[in-house]
Symmetry: C7
Subunit: 95 residues, 7 copies
């Protein structure tokens, strides 16, 4: 089964501890708005800007990212726990 | 009888359990804002952008979609329970 | 007597039960924001967009429409109960 | 004495019962936001849009109009009770 | 001493009763937001619009104006009580 | 040590009574939002407008200005008490 | 390990007392919204403006900056305490 996000939405798989980037990024427990680590599973075509053109999406499938975890719709597709967020909620790419 | 949505509105039929996509997408009960699964029945011509041109609608009649369920006007047309939402409330296309 | 709406306003006659579209659209009593059925009596010239041009109005006199009923100024013109709404409050056209 | 409204403001004389349009428009007492009937006394040059050009004003001196009455500054000029409103508060023209 | 307002600000002298326009404008005590009468003492160069150009100021030094009195910074320059407001708070010009 | 403000920020030195402009401007104690008198110490390059160009800053180093005092970050640089504000908080130039 | 911020985000290392700029900037304890001193570790590609072009970022890696400390996500990368903020939260560059 496939899921194609619309607009500037992206589909992200939350990373479990053993999948997380090594060497490594740590989100301190004291962080006020603790972000999550995930891997991009699908990306939308981009939102339309004021001129009616699509803004490019700055992440691609396979990117490991940090994202704000207080946003997004949780879904389970083919037994995988996924979350649908907007690209603006991606804070940055880990590599 | 026909219903033609205006602007960026679309007419959606909520899918019952037996009609839902197989193989499958599951919305966990723990999801904060649980989205719904539906099938597009009619689409509007698109909203006008700042330049007075219509933004294209990214879904078409027959698409099975996931949409935010806390939006939209419920109507019953020809015995069918339908809901009128805005295209921005469609999260993605299932296929 | 005539009433010419300004900008993107339109003048709508609420439809009584016997005038309503047959075959038919039903607004369930359980709908959170129950829309109304009406017929367009007059339309404004369109609002000005950011570039100073008028956005076209997507409905015309005689159209039977569904509109959000929590908006608009109620008036009585030549013994008819009418309501003045904005075009964006029209949800779609029935035919 | 003259008063020249600025931008998109217009100067309106509220109409007394005997001056009101015949044949006629009635604002029901049950209307939630009861509009008023008035005659345009002076109009501003139009507000500047995003491109620095003036948006035209859709009413002219002498027009009998319906306007939202919960807006505007009340003034008395040469013994006349007048009200200064913005053009967007004019709902439509009566004729 | 001179004071040069920035952007779309203007410097206004409130008019005392004996300086007020004759023949005349009266602000009723019952007015909800009672405007004030004043004379323009200095005007700014205009605010920048979205395209980076200055919007012209529609009043000039010496104009007698009506302005919203719930806005602006009060200052005393060379023994004169003045008020600095934005041009959008000027309702119109008296003459 | 140098401090280069970013965007449309400017660095201002609050003026003590003996440094204030003579002949003179007085902020009445009754003023609702009492502005402050200061001297510009550094200016940013200007904020980017919607077209991606920088809006010019209307003040320069050395200008004595009036500014809204309920905004800005206070800092002490090389023993001097300074305040970093946005250019829009400068009300006007004294000279 | 590398972290590439997205859009107009930047990665900042808070400066400890012994690393802070000499000669020097002091944030008074009485400051209402006390800013922090930091060093830029990574910068995003810039946010897209209304025309779909990237706005340039006015800081570069290595810049010592003052930034608003009530914003940003705290992370720990390779044993370093870092904070991810938006470029608009950078108040200015110290040098």
């Amino acid at each position: 089964m496939k899921f194609k996000p619309l607009h500037d939405r992206i589909l992200v798989k939350r990373l479990e501890d053993e999948e997380k980037s090594k060497g490594g990024i740590i989100i301190p427990d004291t962080a006020k708005e603790k972000p999550s680590e995930g891997e991009i599973v699908a990306v939308g075509p981009g939102a339309l800007n004021n001129e009616g053109k699509r803004n490019p999406i700055d992440v691609k499938v396979g990117d490991k990212v940090l994202f704000s975890k207080y946003s997004g719709d949780e879904v389970k597709i083919d037994e995988q726990d996924l979350i649908i967020i907007k690209e603006e909620d991606v804070i940055g790419i880990l590599n």
